[in-house]
Subunit: 124 residues, 2 copies
DNA sequence: TGACACCGACTACAACTGTAATCATATTGG
DNA sequence: CCAATATGATTACAGTTGTAGTCGGTGTCA
């Protein structure tokens, strides 16, 4: 039903917490994010409310408070975001993007090694 | 001097036109974008004005109209955007990101081939 | 039992975005 | 020369985002 909702940078952080482990209450999520980012607990509440409205997460009343969980898979969001990044920044062309990442020192030696391995396997 | 300005998705499209070839007058840019996207010429003007204010492009009066050119290199923007994408979507980890692209059919056979080649070279 | 801490609901508010419209002026085809 | 047109400048306006604050109810520790 839900056509993939658009979520903002800050909202991604919240989703990441919930994808990591859920369900979680608002304050559990807030604890994580007040530490990782320097967010005010109220800010986290706002994010949760907005994500609910967007249909990206769901909640259930658990006693007198709510527990939240993702309503959409991380994979789906990742796919959409990756596509849009590739299109916007590299005109949809994967090779230049790969060159960029490889040449920009974003890849450690380990990264390079595992990447070779993946290519072997997926190769032919 | 200029701390890298933040530009929005739509503004990227404008920058792409100017990085492709510049200087260009407002209407030249508009022509491109009215075609590629379905933008109103006025919308393009607004974008140009905003990008000037942000310091991402510069203009010079050419007779009675302006000609625009980038003020910041594409490479710089690409680096910033790529970093932020990697952090936000893949927690800063390049390998999972590449795995995603490899496994998601975003890479053509040619892309895969050049990726192997890039890895050859960069490896040792 | 009373002050306080917490919860979820609702409100605030400025900056940024997408998407133009209006205005004053300069240029131009007729 | 003058009306139509194109230009840059300014303004509009709603939706999104980041970043909270307020309000009314409830559970809690002293």
């Amino acid at each position: 039903m839900t056509n993939d909702p658009n979520i903002s940078d800050a909202e991604w952080e919240v989703m990441n917490v919930l994808w990591e482990s859920s369900p979680r209450t608002a304050s559990e999520v807030a604890d994580q994010l007040c530490e990782r980012m320097q967010w005010h607990p109220k800010t986290v509440k706002t994010m949760l409310a907005r994500l609910v409205k967007k249909g990206a997460i769901r909640f259930r009343a658990e006693g007198n408070r709510y527990s939240y969980r993702p309503a959409v898979s991380r994979e789906k969001f990742v796919r959409v975001e990756s596509r849009s990044f590739l299109d916007r920044v590299f005109g949809g062309q994967a090779t230049p993007m790969l060159v960029h990442f490889v040449e920009n020192g974003d890849l450690s030696d380990d990264d390079l090694a595992s990447l070779r391995e993946i290519l072997e396997r997926s190769g032919k």
